[in-house]
Symmetry: none
Subunit: 207 residues, 4 copies
DNA sequence: TATGAATGAGTCTTCATTCAT
DNA sequence: TATGAATGAAGACTCATTCAT
């Protein structure tokens, strides 16, 4: 019964502005449940009936809130993408050194992958091709913003000699490395999320 | 009309031993085509009819070669996994220094992702959950061998002070970083596959 | 915002007597809009939501005015059928010669098909089978009256040697010929409605 | 179990040429049954399950022969339209006087409406709007041919002073008059089909 | 071994209707 | 009277799989 995205003060504000669905509304509950199911079973293997059952309504009722299954997938992805962009912008604004900015990127990414928004983030990454092309384009617009923030930081780091790999490649490599942690990193294991962040940082910068 | 895996002398031998399907047989052609379609459209969105049509037979005929769609997916994954394991073992045997062994790992992985076996490798990585659990376990057996090779090399590297991150984490992080290259690295772009390998190496090793 | 039937002094009286809905009431507006939509898109392809939306209310609210979609269709048909019957009786009363009476029939029919009540008339003709059998019977009662007026006139004409075809067949043939004009005759084209009436008359009467 | 269109020597040839479905094939049986059901209950109120049941297969099997319900409707309409065009061309070729040509038109039309192809013809006329616009255009191409034959004959008749009403209007009026006979004329009643044809002729020509 | 029609359970989606507020 | 979320039965369509030929 949680939102597909983590509800912090930032998200609170986004919800109030109507950019993200309130988890207390049917729409919000539907999106959160969809995120979980899509992650657990995959988009195609999740049926509208299952989704409805988990939310406690009948399958036909879903269509009061979304016009198609595709729109639900879009909802899950779009909201998490908006939230990530927002969260990263805020985190970067608070960081001063370039090293801290890189850490901010890593922490934000890992927070979304392994925090309350983990389901939506995993869906964003691994069910991308299930989304209709038309809606992929819409999500991509926001997504590009997000990665521009990465590349700016890595460009600065490269200029400072802090990193060896070119900004665009480093972005992609680190993004892949962190995306894959969904499959092996578990919160509460012997490696903490902060420690994981440090390992990723160790890949990015030379000491 | 190619095999799902690249046919070198090693594979030739595997084929002759019956461990991998000959691309000249219906079974081999079916697997190669399935790999491509599963990659392009996703497992669920590929129908048996399409697969049959591309191979030039009728849908009913597929079932003379495979007992189910799941078995085809298994075939694609199992063969590529066997081939990777084989290829890596050979490459490591030829490398002398630990640094070279790391490069061997990276080159082998990238060769499978971006070479002729790219389709099968992408399917292995991104359609994993579409495979029935029972068969996932079978593939996993071989897969574990493969990553044991990685970890042994990274353990040695760590002991030599060549790498900073613990072997098990480094394996996973690099694996993720390289898996993701499917989405952004294109053969014949301004970055060559060898140059890409060097960038990955630069993440792993602090010179 | 018009009634499904044309509001002349006759209809005014019918409205005042409660036999036809006032277009100023929600019921009247609903019927007029339904007539238009049923004609444009067909009964089955018109949804209650669309109908409600066009009238400016919500779908649930319709059911305060009509107990079912079928009742709406009935309303549309019943009112137009009453109005036609009424209009024809009046027109015939004013005609003196048999020829004029035939013209009165033709003009009345064409007026309903191509005038403000055109939507309702088209629905009456072309969505007949969408109406429940029970309500078909109700409409049929009035409808029979209407055609009895036709047959009486054509019987007289036949007796006078004015027409060649037997009354009952001539009624049906002319009715069909005029009903079909919905599909090809457009008000304001090179043929006026009066000229069209003369063409129909020319079929019926051998000068 | 009859074809949607009457199987005479002409149709036999069309079938052999593959332009019309053989009623002995599944496709042909499906079309004939669909024509009957669409006529009896209307296109929208006929379900694929019903259609399948009447043909003796399961609903899913229909989609081996047609890709959608719309394509079935198209099939029914297209084949009857082709057959009408063919039949009329032949009949006109055999008629010598203009009067006989008009009779040929009337007989052909009535034959299609009340003969074995009556179901398909009724569907063509009364379910027109249920057909997708794209496919309407395809049917229209053939349909226009058919009515061009009418207009040519009526133009000749008009020139000869045989008819009073202009060719284009006479075509439409007679077409409407005959289309409507579906609803009131029954084979084997007190009026024979030939006698009905004479009544229609009486409308068209002045003695 | 290949065919291809048929299966039948399952999918997303639609929509008239209900009803608590 | 109006709302609008929810209902639930029904619709068209999909597709891996079967099997007689």
């Amino acid at each position: 019964m949680t939102s597909p995205v983590q509800v912090g003060p930032l998200l609170r504000q986004m919800i109030d502005e109507g950019r993200v669905s309130d988890p207390a509304t049917p729409r919000g509950r539907l999106l959160a449940t969809a995120a979980r199911l899509f992650r657990e079973k995959g988009y195609n293997r999740t049926t509208m009936r299952e989704l409805a059952a988990e939310v406690g309504i009948l399958s036909g009722s879903i269509f009061h809130h979304f016009e198609s299954k595709d729109e639900i997938l879009f909802g899950v992805m779009h909201e998490v993408v908006l939230a990530m962009d927002d969260a990263l912008a805020t985190a970067l604004a608070e960081a001063t050194t370039t090293r801290d900015k890189i850490l901010a990127i890593i922490h934000t990414e890992l927070a979304f992958i392994h925090g309350k928004t983990g389901d939506a983030t995993a869906v964003l990454i691994y069910e991308w091709r299930a989304l209709s092309e038309k809606r992929q384009r819409q999500v991509l617009k926001v997504r590009k913003n997000y990665f521009k923030l990465w590349e700016e930081v890595f460009a600065q780091a490269h200029a400072e000699g802090l990193t060896l790999v070119e900004p665009e490649y480093l972005s992609q490599l680190l993004h892949g490395a962190m995306a894959w942690t969904t499959y092996w990193f578990k919160q509460g294991g012997k490696l903490s999320q902060d420690e994981l962040a440090n390992r990723v940082l160790a890949l990015a910068i030379k000491e």
